[in-house]
Symmetry: C2
DNA sequence: ACTGTATATGAACAGATGTTCATATAGAAC
DNA sequence: GTTCTATATGAACATCTGTTCATATACAGT
């Protein structure tokens, strides 16, 4: 047999990426086989290779897409007045952006070690670019005397680590609204870097 | 052929656990084969089954051991005077304990989804017990009026997430000593939960 | 209606996987 | 020195792995 009814590239391509995303997030890259991804799409394993040269590329492009969208969305924000307001904006943006993409976030964090060295280097560079945006804010606030951190690099990583913690417990429809979560985390971040 | 020179249970057992620990941490549970573990020990794959019923048990016991040692070490600490001092002690303990066991920490966090449901439930219970110790401190301080957090549960998770961030970047022999790291994080935690 | 191509199938590949087991032997106990 | 058992081997198992490819066919363009 061969080509099936309704088969089309514009449809199958995204569905493969979606299936890979969801399966990688749930079971981990190494634990998911090409046949499982194909089955989720309703296709045979061989068909995947019309859309990706190999399994590694599937992972890499998911991660790069996510990081590029993150950076684009962040730089599309309106500029803010002063470091405090910028930090508040960063906290809100980070929480909301990541909440909407739990699978992508999970993969971008957990599957770094399954990238080839070259792919890892590229993803890592994008991640650092994002971290640098936060560090610039802290640095600015530090020099303006409105923040007081012992080390801006460490504070950057500490704030991001803290914010990422949200993803491990927040479920929409739970006890707290996104607004409340944002407010709570902003309180803690603000105080943590305060003078 | 069969039993080799120098073979002994007291030696091989720990070496298998050590090899599994190190390989799981570096490449992930799903990506490591029993043959790789055996090769690291210098033994054939079949020999592993004198020490573990299966691969899953190997992972489970590594994680349970780690969590139990964590809880034991924490409860062995001298009691502190008041919530502020208790929190400072917790921060220092957490950073130092986890720094000494980077592989165990990494596995305990990353490989939860590779546990069977029953094993997962057990490990998760131990983790919650540890979190509860911190939450009790925050709760106490909140009621005594020395801390001010909107939600003790969230603050607990936020503080632990922030502290765990250390493991992703700290390398001994780097720019900062453990004492400095501890001091920097304590400053941030203290301020984050301050009134 | 006819043709060309994009898109799927399904079989095949070489090798890896977790696990079992009959067998051999090193070292302890007597 | 003999016996016993704990501890290893290495082959075998059924199944799964990522990937390739000849082949078939649904759809688009004419």
């Amino acid at each position: 047999m061969a080509r099936t009814q309704g088969s089309h590239s514009d449809i199958t391509g995204p569905r493969i990426r979606q299936a890979a995303l969801s399966l990688f997030a749930r079971h981990g890259y190494a634990a998911v086989s090409m046949r499982q991804i194909a089955a989720e799409v309703g296709v045979q394993a061989g068909a995947l290779y019309n859309y990706t040269p190999d399994k590694q590329s599937l992972l890499y492009h998911l991660m790069r897409n996510h990081m590029e969208e993150l950076l684009e969305a962040y730089s599309a924000l309106d500029p803010c007045d002063g470091p405090v307001e910028s930090l508040r904006q960063f906290v809100g943006f980070h929480i909301r952006f990541h909440m909407k993409r739990p699978d992508e976030v999970f993969i971008a964090y957990m599957e770094l070690r399954n990238l080839t060295p070259e792919n890892f280097a590229e993803i890592e560079a994008l991640r650092r670019a994002y971290e640098n945006a936060l560090e610039a804010i802290l640095e600015q606030g530090q020099q303006a005397g409105v923040f007081s951190v012992a080390d801006t690099k460490i504070a950057t990583l500490a704030v991001i680590a803290m914010l990422n913690g949200v993803m491990t417990w927040y479920r929409s429809g739970g006890r707290l609204s996104l607004d409340q979560v944002e407010q709570i985390y902003w309180d803690m971040v603000r105080k943590a870097v305060a003078v």
